[in-house]
């Protein structure tokens, strides 16, 4: 009986998550596009719903809600479903939509989609070979095999995003890095932009007039075709056409300049708005947070380096260690069991919420930057895949932050994965991504310290792609 009630609660919450994913898709992701294939929206929402259910089960584990055996059952069920979705459904649909875009293969879409999926499976399987993630006594097609590979990909993604966030967040939050921009700077740059465009216009007017007079005089400008045409064009060429090609080159150069000026002006406007924002209360609050965050990032980098250099993996989680310290060193006595449950619930809850929110925001920004009306379906499905893998591996890694009595269910359900390997791998990739992103951001900082730099910073091209 209680099993039925528990299942009822789980199903309701899954439906809620599905609805949330649906709304998010409609309102945020596909704001400017028309949803023509509802399959995409359904697949995205399903991935989101089942990923969130896993987090919900962890919370239930800590709080002791629901029957323990029904929790275990739902864990297993949820894991099977999400692995099915991530390994079979989403890649197949990605292949299907890619193939639909190519006109040549349009007829036998299904066939080619299956071919693409089989290639994906092959590489996915090969991924597991170089990593010591599995003890050899498991069979070929078991949950552990699939989840270990999904875990590797997901952990890599998490570490990349964390590294990027560790570099980017202090830069974005703290106003220390903001350079001073005055209205006069902006006006000067806008004036240069308009002057450049005027020059382009006057050159294009000359070219248009020249074309028109040539057309009216009957000298239609033919491109040299064929062998003899090319030979002839070497010796004789209309004087007008040489002039025109020279002007065309000048126009191309000026157009490139106008693009750079536009991007710089947009940058200046953005900086000016950030300066105004930093003077408000919200801005000051975020600035303050930024300092704390930077300290936290430095500590994380330090810990990651130590873990790798000294080849150790942390054994205790922060909650238990914190309680130990307060009890042993500060001598404060309190009900350890009660508090450890609540504190770990809060800590794990914060981690889950911030990682979901952070991922959704990053995915949305990414989607706006690179999608077009043709590729929007494929990109959304790719993002759903990334999201699913990210959430699965955060379940793997979150195990480390929980006290031992709550870890058992994850260990039971996921089988005998080498969890230590994942933590080590996370630290390595985190350090690698951090050291890769730091030089980019520092060049951005140094080149933007002079207001009217002649060459735009490399990242703004991606940022302002219109």
């Amino acid at each position: 009986m209680s099993f039925l009630i528990d299942s009822g609660i789980m199903v309701t919450s899954q439906v809620l998550f599905f609805g949330f994913g649906w709304l998010f898709f409609m309102r945020k992701l596909f704001k400017d596009y028309e949803v023509r294939q509802y399959v995409v929206q359904v697949v995205f929402s399903v991935t989101f719903a089942f990923s969130c259910t896993m987090f919900e089960l962890i919370i239930f584990e800590i709080l002791g809600v629901l029957n323990s055996s029904s929790r275990y059952f739902h864990w297993k069920l949820n894991l099977c479903v999400i692995l099915l979705v991530l390994v079979f459904m989403v890649p197949f649909y990605i292949g299907y939509f890619i193939v639909s875009n190519i006109r040549l293969l349009h007829r036998q879409r299904l066939l080619f989609a299956c071919v693409v999926w089989l290639t994906f499976m092959y590489f996915f399987w090969k991924l597991g070979d170089p990593f010591p993630i599995l003890s050899p006594k498991h069979g070929i097609l078991s949950i552990e095999q699939l989840i270990s590979r999904v875990g590797v990909i997901g952990v890599t993604l998490m570490a990349l995003l964390s590294g990027f966030g560790a570099v980017n967040c202090p830069y974005t939050y703290m106003s220390y890095f903001l350079r001073n921009v005055t209205d006069a700077d902006i006006l000067a740059l806008e004036r240069r932009l308009l002057q450049t465009i005027d020059m382009i216009i006057s050159k294009k007017k000359r070219m248009a007039m020249a074309h028109r007079t040539m057309f009216q005089r009957g000298e239609v400008h033919n491109k040299p075709t064929g062998f003899w045409g090319i030979i002839k064009s070497v010796t004789t060429s209309a004087p007008g056409s040489e002039n025109l090609s020279l002007i065309q080159q000048e126009v191309d150069a000026l157009e490139e300049l106008s693009r750079q000026l536009f991007l710089e002006t947009a940058d200046l406007h953005a900086t000016k708005e950030r300066i105004e924002y930093s003077k408000t209360f919200q801005g000051k609050y975020f600035n303050f947070l930024g300092y704390f965050f930077s300290i936290y990032c430095v500590w994380k980098i330090f810990m990651a380096t130590i873990n790798i250099v000294f080849d150790r993996v942390g054994k205790t989680d922060p909650v238990t260690r914190g309680i130990e310290i307060t009890v042993n060193y500060l001598g404060i006595q309190f009900d350890v069991k009660f508090w450890s449950q609540h504190i770990s619930f809060i800590l794990v809850g914060i981690i889950i919420v911030t990682s979901i929110r952070g991922l959704l925001i990053t995915l949305t920004k990414f989607f706006y930057a690179i999608s077009s009306s043709k590729s929007s379906n494929v990109i959304v499905l790719l993002l759903a895949q990334i999201m699913g893998m990210y959430f699965v591996s955060s379940v793997l890694l979150i195990r480390m932050s929980m006290p031992p009595e709550y870890r058992t269910i994850i260990t039971e359900v996921l089988g005998e994965l080498q969890f230590n390997f994942y933590h080590r791998w996370f630290d390595v990739i985190f350090l690698v991504s951090f050291s890769t992103f730091t030089p980019f951001t520092s060049t951005k900082m140094s080149s933007s310290s002079s207001p009217a730099a002649s060459a735009g910073p490399p990242f703004s091209i991606c940022k302002h792609r219109l």
Partner: protein
């Protein structure tokens, strides 16, 4: 050296609807081979004969300013774009016939260009933040062009064309539906070419001829920098 007078026409619309292809077709009479994303603003020039075939025929330069971007851009990008909206004589609104949202966004585009201070709303409400009053006293001629006509199957064509007819009526503008990769839609003598020609004539009339037919002298309008003195520009 521009010996002829000039008018400035903006070409606005969402990303990917085909503005660059359209401008290329209008100015070079050729199909654009490799369209790529427009960053900032790209300009092209078309020579137009005002009142062709009559004794009052006069040639003008029409500058087509193709402004890239989307209505939902960051406000810093919008402020930068606003620089291009100065002293505009006509606006061409481009939308994609296969994408309804691009047609709905045209209201916001036109408001952005005409008012230059639209507060960005998170959720698009169709006709909710669009006020006919604002278009009633609008002096700038508008033209609505729908692209990718060839991608609409024959069965749906009527429905789509009815919808766009309503759209054009809202703007009090003419409408043209075409495919930018096929020059025959704008072939000389076709109804589309006539509508286009009439639009450009209207733009020129509004700019250069006052109501009683007297010609306004065409001095270069440098009203951009807050009413500064007319100086010749130094080209460096």
């Amino acid at each position: 050296m521009a010996a002829l007078d000039r008018v400035k026409v903006l070409v606005l619309g969402d990303s990917g609807v085909g503005k660059s292809s359209l401008v290329h077709l209008l100015c070079q009479n050729q199909v654009l081979g490799n369209p790529s994303w427009t960053v900032g603003c790209s300009v092209d020039v078309r020579i137009h004969d005002y009142k062709e075939g009559t004794p009052e025929e006069k040639t003008y330069y029409i500058e087509l300013w193709d402004v890239g971007g989307s209505v939902g851009s960051a406000s810093s990008v919008k402020s930068t774009r606003a620089v291009f909206y100065n002293s505009v004589n006509g606006i061409i609104l481009v939308h994609d016939l296969t994408n309804k949202k691009s047609s709905q966004n045209l209201y916001r585009w036109s408001l952005e260009a005409l008012n230059r201070d639209v507060a960005p709303t998170g959720v698009l409400v169709t006709n909710g933040d669009y006020d006919r009053e604002q278009f009633a006293d609008n002096q700038i001629p508008l033209l609505v062009i729908g692209t990718k006509l060839d991608q609409i199957p024959e069965t749906k064509r009527n429905e789509v064309l009815t919808r766009t007819a309503f759209l054009a009526e809202d703007f009090n503008a003419e409408e043209i539906n075409l495919d930018c990769t096929n020059p025959r839609y704008l072939a000389a003598g076709s109804s589309n070419a006539v509508k286009l020609s009439r639009f450009f004539d209207k733009v020129i009339e509004k700019r250069y001829l006052s109501r009683d037919g007297n010609q306004i002298p065409g001095f270069p309008d440098r009203k951009r920098f807050g009413g500064g003195t007319l100086k010749s520009l130094h080209y460096d």
